[in-house]
């Protein structure tokens, strides 16, 4: 029974998130119509662009033709900001090498390595790649890319990691393990120090 139980627990999280994405059109409509009744017809005119038949009466002049013009005069970031970021990156590199020297057990080593690498990554992206001052759209692009990458990792690992939960022999390298017990060695397997000797 616990198999079915923790399948359902795992779905709870995903389904709430996905339900919002799927019902976005309906939820969007609902919110807009509710709010527009409360705040008066024109409050959400920008969103409610479509009304059948009635030409949209926009109180102010038609939106300015030029898209929002970024300010011209943004002066390049000062030199010491870059040097500070560079210094931080070097320090973090030393930290990550140091952490690996501590000989933590595997799970923590992976965790700390990923944490430090992400910090270095955000530093480079925010300052060196001018994500900080740039348009919000860039953040959305990087966000969706990372979202898709995580989807790829998590769902594939969902398969790989749960293969032998029900049948022990469905684990990945069973045939290789069995071949190894019976003496025959699969092509790729190299026993320590002996392969070269043979």
């Amino acid at each position: 029974m616990d198999i079915i139980l923790n399948i359902l627990v795992c779905f709870g999280l995903i389904s709430v998130g996905l339900a919002f994405i799927v019902l976005l059109p309906v939820v969007g409509n609902l919110l807009v119509s509710v709010f527009s009744t409360v705040y008066g017809e024109q409050a959400f005119s920008r969103f409610k662009g479509i009304e059948s038949g009635s030409v949209l009466v926009t109180p102010e002049a038609p939106p300015p033709p030029e898209p929002k013009v970024e300010d011209h005069g943004h002066q390049p970031t000062p030199l010491n900001v870059y040097l500070a970021v560079y210094g931080a990156l070097l320090v973090l590199t030393v930290v990550t090498v140091g952490v690996s020297e501590l000989g933590l057990i595997q799970r923590e080593a992976v965790f700390w390595a990923v944490v430090v690498a992400t910090m270095k990554g955000t530093l480079v992206v925010a300052w060196f790649m001018h994500m900080k001052g740039g348009p919000a759209m860039n953040r959305l692009i990087l966000g969706t890319t990372l979202f898709f990458m995580l989807i790829f990792f998590t769902l594939t690992m969902a398969d790989l990691s749960t293969r032998d939960t029900i049948f022990e022999h469905e684990a990945h390298w069973t045939t290789i393990k069995e071949a190894q017990y019976s003496g025959a060695k699969p092509a790729g397997w190299s026993a320590k120090g002996t392969a070269a000797a043979e």
């Binding site: 198999i3 079915i4 799927v22 019902l23 059109p25 309906v26 409509n29 609902l30 119509s33 479509i50 009304e51 059948s52 038949g53 293969r163 029900i166 049948f167 022999h169 469905e170 684990a171 990945h172 390298w173 069973t174 045939t175 290789i176 025959a184």
Partner: protein, 334 residues
């Protein structure tokens, strides 16, 4: 038109009860929604065609109640189909504790069935199936009726797939690990057994049968198979049961086939694709069986799988002896 017999072969697997009902349920869902949607489409298209006098009035562009209903109703139906499918899938794929284990090994273009409880190996090459059929012996995978059977599949070279339509059962066999399916046959009889994962040239010939026998017949056949296993291995059956005939011709003057013809090979000079010539003596025959890539005959692709570790020493010598008899001077064994 809308009953399971028309769409699906009769179901003989006790575990796959819900499959036919779910298939028919979704078939009805399809037919009803098709009727509704296409009916509405055709009716609107005719009633409101350009120039027709139909009453028009204001054209609604969105209607909250309608949009919410036609989002929630499909969600509900799909939820029902999902849970129904998952419940049946769990029932179909998790074997009972005491299930009888049969190891299915897929190989390029035929199947091997090992019965660890009886120490018997049945091979299902097209040649052996014909021989068994003519002799009235059960063909291919032999299973007892009304006993829970667990198939543990593995493959030796590429992906294959065990598909028995009558049992509603399908599972790929993968080279690097074992995959498991289970069934409980309810009706004695002979059912089709296909390979459904593309595996090369003879993918469509990699088919055999599943013979469901009553318990006493099954036990009798098992004893008979055990005696045959102890008897001296005779080269011809080893040749037939390991699928060699799938690629090599053995009759005089027969050409074609993916591998070179073996007629009159023993004692002859063979030209290799590296250009040199080699005498086809016992060592060459043995080596070509164990490690075919070492010496590839000119004009043939290097696709022969290696039989190292799969043929016992006794079977290997029997095979070499058999091949040496394939020639005009040695009386040509049959």
């Amino acid at each position: 038109m809308f009953d399971a017999q028309f769409w699906l072969p009769e179901s003989v697997n006790a575990l796959a009860g819900g499959v036919d009902e779910l298939f028919i349920f979704v078939l009805w869902v399809t037919v009803i929604s098709l009727a509704l949607v296409l009916g509405a489409m055709i009716w609107f298209a005719i009633r409101y065609r350009a120039g027709s006098g139909g009453p028009r009035g204001s054209m609604p562009t969105h209607n909250m109640a309608l949009e919410v209903t036609w989002t929630l109703v499909p969600t509900a139906i799909l939820g029902v189909i999902f849970f129904w499918g998952t419940r049946d899938y769990a029932k179909m794929s998790i074997p009972a504790g005491d299930a009888m284990e049969i190891r299915v090994m897929g190989q390029k273009w035929f199947w091997n069935f090992d019965y660890p409880d009886y120490g018997v190996r049945l091979q299902a090459t097209p040649e052996l199936d014909e021989k068994n059929e003519t002799e009235g012996k059960p063909v291919g995978l032999v299973v007892p009726v009304d006993t829970s059977v667990q198939l543990i599949g593995s493959s030796t070279d590429v992906l294959h797939s065990v598909f028995i339509p009558a049992f509603r059962l399908k599972k790929d066999v993968v080279p690097n690990r074992y995959t498991t399916t289970t069934f409980v046959a309810t009706e004695p009889g002979v059912y089709d057994f296909f390979c459904t994962e593309y595996c090369g040239t003879k993918h469509s010939n990699m088919i055999t049968k599943v013979t469901v026998l009553s318990k006493p017949d099954f036990d009798a056949y098992m004893e008979e198979a055990q005696e045959a296993a102890e008897g001296p291995a005779d080269g011809a059956t080893v040749f037939a049961s390991n699928g060699c005939a799938g690629c090599h011709q053995v009759r005089e003057g027969a050409t074609g086939g993916l591998g070179p013809s073996l007629w009159g090979l023993a004692g002859r000079e063979e030209a290799l694709n590296t250009g040199e010539k080699v005498l086809a003596d016992d060592n060459y025959l043995r080596e070509s069986i164990e490690n075919p890539m070492a010496k590839v005959v000119a004009g043939y692709d290097p696709i022969m799988p290696s039989f190292a570790g799969r043929l016992s020493e006794e079977e290997l010598t029997a095979l070499v002896v058999y091949m040496k008899q394939l020639g005009p001077d040695a009386g040509g064994a049959q």
